[in-house]
């Protein structure tokens, strides 16, 4: 019989024998499967279209203040207590992102500005689909860029946790041929009742079923349930004094950290956050957006702290379907726009820099006379990460129809 990790775990191998007493070929088997790829990628999707212009603020752009009379973030030199935090003399962070300052200046955090999808849609769900599929404009794509970036790699399907979405759904980003699972709540990821009957019964039914869709998902489920038995999520202690915010976002980040530390073979993790669609009373230095940004920065900084040295192998990247109008609307909010900003964080990142070709915000420079123009395609940012970090250089299949020339990378990552 072929000894797979699954069979081995099922028979209670690891726990019973302990690593030292284990035959060496088994030790190898475990080592192989737990760490097929040392590099990990964490992807955040900010649903609802974050207002990038109030997140990474172009405070040296006079039009910014002209277009946003009531919600603009004051200049760093304004003397105001709550002003933009200067990054490079042109851009500044929203004051709620204060925890990011240190990450940025220590070179762990990079920002891409005026980035986005070339597709002109201002529909949330179309734009999310396009960004998640990685094929702007093509509605027929039914798998996601992140899933495809795993398909190309040799070590396919080694762990039930290779690709994990933290939330109740598997997002389009992760749907596709490579196996991926969704975990709504790590603490609840087990079957009720006596495992002999319930797990045995259900597992056999889903293993036998001719229903292809349910067969596959059943297999993934039971493999994951099995491996998670050695985790103790109820008693997880973040390290290095990290304190995650008590939000859904904070909880997901903590679960990602826990799984990463457990070495269960997770290579990519996906999480999303919502509430960014601020048509009304978005707020400036305080308000709805400010609260979301507090959550964002506290979460990311806690994650960075908690993982410590492991951050050397981890890259975090964020995106949102499109930006918001350059001008504020009639209700002190903003409507659907175009370009946005992305955050890239981790040990491999050449941080401390805002990567951008700034398109400007004067009348002639705005996209369709209303939005920040896209000067960097989001796919070139992700493509660089997929190539340099995940080690998949077959970008033609990850972002089909896009000019994936590595010479056009922004070189956000160290090589």
């Amino acid at each position: 019989m072929k000894i797979t990790r699954r069979v081995f775990l099922k028979n209670g191998g690891v726990a019973m024998i302990g690593l030292s007493a284990m035959p060496s070929f088994l030790q190898r088997a475990i080592a192989d499967t737990s760490a097929p790829n040392k590099k990990k990628l964490v992807v955040l999707f900010q649903r609802g279209a974050m207002d990038g212009l109030n997140v990474v603020v172009p405070f040296a752009e006079p039009n910014y203040y002209r277009l946003r009379p009531t919600i603009a973030i004051p200049q760093p030199t304004s003397g105001s207590q709550e002003a933009a935090l200067d990054l490079d003399g042109f851009f500044g962070l929203h004051p709620s992102l204060q925890p990011f300052e240190q990450l940025f200046h220590s070179g762990q955090l990079a920002i891409v500005e005026a980035v986005g999808s070339p597709d002109p849609t201002r529909s949330h769900f179309d734009a999310q689909d396009f960004m998640e599929s990685g094929t702007p404009g093509a509605r027929s794509t039914d798998d996601g860029w992140l899933n495809r970036s795993l398909q190309g790699l040799a070590e396919e399907k080694t762990s039930a946790f290779r690709a994990v979405a933290f939330g109740p759904y598997l997002p389009l980003t992760l749907r596709g041929r490579a196996s991926a699972i969704a975990i709504p709540d790590l603490k609840q990821f087990r079957l009720f009742g006596n495992p002999q009957v319930t797990e045995g019964g259900f597992e056999a039914m889903y293993a036998q079923t001719v229903d292809q869709a349910l067969h596959g998902v059943g297999q993934e489920t039971f493999e994951a349930v099995d491996s998670l038995k050695k985790l103790d999520p109820d008693n997880y202690q973040p390290e290095n004094g990290a304190e995650y915010p008590k939000s859904r976002f904070g909880k997901s980040l903590q679960e990602i950290a826990e799984l990463l530390k457990a070495d269960l073979g997770m290579e990519v993790a996906f999480l999303d956050s919502s509430g960014w669609d601020n048509h009304v009373n978005e707020g400036g230095v305080q308000g709805q957006l400010a609260n979301l940004l507090k959550d964002l920065s506290q979460g990311i900084v806690a994650f960075h702290q908690d993982l410590g040295d492991r951050m050397e192998d981890i890259v975090f990247v964020s995106m949102s379907e499109f930006g918001r109008t350059a001008h504020e609307n009639g209700n002190r909010g903003t409507d659907h726009g175009h370009a946005n900003c992305m955050f890239v964080m981790g040990g491999a990142v050449k941080g401390g820099k805002v990567y951008t070709q700034w398109p400007g915000m004067s009348d002639g420079q705005l996209y369709q006379d209303r939005d920040l123009a896209v000067t960097t395609d989001f796919r070139s940012v992700l493509g660089e990460i997929v190539t340099k970090h995940l080690g998949n250089s077959n970008l033609g299949s990850v972002f089909p129809g896009f000019d994936n020339d590595p010479r056009k990378f922004l070189n956000i990552l160290k090589t």
Binding site: S123, F125, P184, V197, T198, G275, N329
Partner: protein, 645 residues
């Protein structure tokens, strides 16, 4: 990707559809709009309002005989050629209802499938004494938003009234509720009832709406009507967690959606556009023509100076007059923290979504300029007395009076007619007919519905002025609905899993907040979809590892009577023999829950489990082995077959 092929048998097209074709071709040839309109009315009247003409029945019956099977009488003129009678009845119960309850299949066989369907299509025939008794418990259903705000005021407001800090008040409330919980526990009250009785204020409103929605789906005889109500509530999605919507959604569901569920699409569209819940959710209540708003402010200021406050109270509703959400811990709530005196201007949120999601569809042919001018048409559609008695109100003073052009059509009436005429145009657009028909076909037939079916439904939609019942009838009287490809092809949504399991188990519910929570845990918290898209209707969204695990756990919890506030009597459901004979228990469960539709593999797997000591237990003083019927039922409800419908 599954592509259902369209059967091309001679009876595939009903005479009604033939009539439509004739009308269309004449229209195409002559291109005379007036003739078209007259013919449209004639065709709609003749073909859609009544039962299919007798000729239709003969035709399809002949075709069935021709195909070698004898169609049961109960099929009437339903174009069923690929399913057996049992399959067809089960299919109807799974697709036009929330799954079979014990005895349903037999009842429909006796009554005749076509007759049952015609009952379902005419929602007035439902007589629901069992359900009505349950709904009587949910007092908030019958309350207006005004009454809800009065009875369950926002905690922050109460705190203010009582001169307390919100935190202080919240803590006091929690202590009080904790104490009440203890008392009720000592009185021996059922845990589910305690949870229900000690919810912090406004949460009770949503809990009752959730439970009413679940009970209606389980118990109502008007199953198709309930499905359509839920379909529209999802199509015209409003999120209860967005600020004031907590107090507005009950009225929205009860008085905006439900009365129009089977009526004309345009009525539904206009009613949702005017509903405080939607006006608030998609921000239109704040949208104003900036110039008109400025003028109004200036004029008001002048009058105020002149009449020294005589006109106070005439100011339009300002953002932030709405009660702040609070006392709903653990919920993501979008706070609406307003500045003191906001300027008002255009907000294009609703203008966009009404075209993209509610009517035309994302490829409906509109541009950004159309979105803006649609929003301009709807300026002034706002809410009166939002704090006290939220009602729709057209505020002429902030309406954009200039001429607007939406998709090539001019709207320059000034006043409320701009919005009504623009909505009318959207409701009548062929893109809307297609979009709505596609969504319905996706909901009722298949994730990838055959194009011919969608087109046929869209034709009916157009010819009947968006008569929802007529569109459903066209769908049900289409062979695609009854095709082998469609049979058991849809994966149930979490709500459908919960409700169909409850129906299969002949579940008895008292107020069970946990039942609603489980629907959320499986991925579909009711009335809490944040984006305006509503929940997805396709399997790819619902089928994943975490969700599956929750479905299995739900099945076990419910079937083994571990869900507080619910109970199932498996002993009487599965029959006397089942108590001591595991095989008898299993075969009855398979028959009851799945109409016997189970694969050989699953059946064999289940049979193997039966010998497990966990299922066959001997009690100490009793040598006879007793069957753990709950476990068997749970396994069947968690089987792959039960995830489909």
């Amino acid at each position: 990707m599954r592509k259902a092929s369209v059967p091309r048998s001679r009876n595939a097209r009903k005479p009604r559809a033939f009539g439509v074709e004739t009308v269309r071709s004449r229209l195409d040839v002559k291109g005379l709009a007036l003739v078209g309109v007259i013919l449209t009315f004639a065709a709609a009247g003749a073909f859609f309002m009544w039962a299919p003409p007798a000729g239709a029945g003969k035709r399809s019956a002949a075709a069935v005989v021709g195909s070698g099977k004898k169609a049961p009488k109960s099929f009437g003129s339903l174009p069923i050629t690929q399913l057996t009678e049992d399959e067809a009845i089960l299919h109807a119960l799974n697709r036009l209802a929330y799954g079979p309850r014990p005895g349903d299949v037999e009842r429909i066989r006796q009554m005749g499938l076509e007759k049952w369907i015609s009952q379902q299509l005419s929602f007035n025939s439902g007589d629901d004494p069992e359900l009505d008794a349950k709904l009587d418990e949910f007092k908030t259903l019958g309350m207006s938003s005004e009454q809800l705000l009065e009875k369950y005021p926002p905690p922050n407001e109460v705190a203010k009234r009582e001169g307390m800090a919100p935190e202080e008040y919240r803590q006091q409330m929690q202590e009080r509720l904790q104490q009440k919980r203890q008392e009720l526990r000592q009185e021996g009250m059922d845990p589910a009832q305690i949870q229900f009785e000690t919810m912090p204020g406004p949460q009770r409103i949503e809990a009752e709406l959730d439970l009413a929605t679940i009970d209606r789906a389980i118990y109502s005889n008007r199953q198709l009507y309930e499905m359509m109500s839920n379909f529209w509530a999802n199509h015209f999605n409003v999120n209860v967690n967005k600020g004031a919507d907590r107090w507005l959604v009950t009225d929205y569901v009860e008085h905006t959606i439900r009365p129009r569920t089977m009526g004309k699409f345009e009525d539904l569209l206009v009613a949702t556009a005017k509903s405080p819940a939607m006006l608030f959710y998609l921000d239109n209540w704040l949208s104003a023509d900036p110039i008109a708003a400025q003028e109004m402010q200036a004029e008001l200021a002048q009058r105020r100076r002149r009449f020294q406050g005589l006109f106070e109270g005439m100011t339009p509703p300002q953002p932030g007059e709405f009660p702040q959400p609070g006392g709903a811990p653990g919920r993501q709530v979008q706070a609406q923290m307003p500045p003191k005196k906001p300027e008002r201007g255009l907000n294009e949120n609703y203008g966009r979504e009404v075209m993209e999601l509610h009517t035309l569809g994302v490829n409906g042919g509109y541009t950004q300029a159309d979105v803006i001018q649609m929003a301009e048409c709807l300026t002034g559609w706002t809410i009166r007395a939002p704090r006290k008695d939220p009602q729709f109100f057209f505020d002429e003073r902030i309406h954009d009076r200039s001429a607007k052009t939406v998709m090539g059509k001019k709207f320059g009436y000034g006043g409320m007619k701009d919005g009504l005429a623009a909505l009318h145009m959207l409701a009548r657009s062929p893109a809307t007919a297609k979009h709505i028909s596609f969504e319905l076909a996706q909901h009722f037939v298949s994730d990838t519905p055959p194009q011919a079916l969608v087109q046929r439904m869209a034709d009916t939609f157009t010819l009947s002025d968006g008569d929802i019942r007529a569109v459903l009838r066209t769908m049900i009287y289409s062979p695609e609905f009854w095709s082998k490809e469609a049979f058991r092809a849809k994966v149930k949504t979490p709500f459908e899993v919960a409700v169909s399991a409850a129906r299969a188990l002949d579940l008895q519910t008292t107020a069970s907040p946990q039942l609603a929570q489980w629907v959320g845990r499986m991925g579909e918290p009711l009335y809490q979809c944040e984006p305006p898209t509503g929940y997805a209707d396709t399997a790819d969204v619902w089928v994943n590892a975490g969700a599956l695990l929750n479905r299995l756990n739900f099945a076990l919890t419910l079937a083994t009577n571990h869900m507080p506030g619910t109970s199932t009597d498996l002993e009487s459901l599965l029959g006397q023999e089942a108590g001591t004979n595991a095989e008898a228990a299993l075969s009855q469960a398979l028959q009851d829950f799945l109409g016997g539709q189970i694969s050989e593999q699953t059946h064999r797997t289940l049979e193997k489990e039966l010998s497990d000591p966990q299922i066959l237990q001997a009690r100490l003083d009793d040598p006879v082995k007793h069957v753990n019927e709950g476990l068997i039922a749970g396994l069947v409800l968690g089987a792959p077959e039960f995830q489909r419908k």
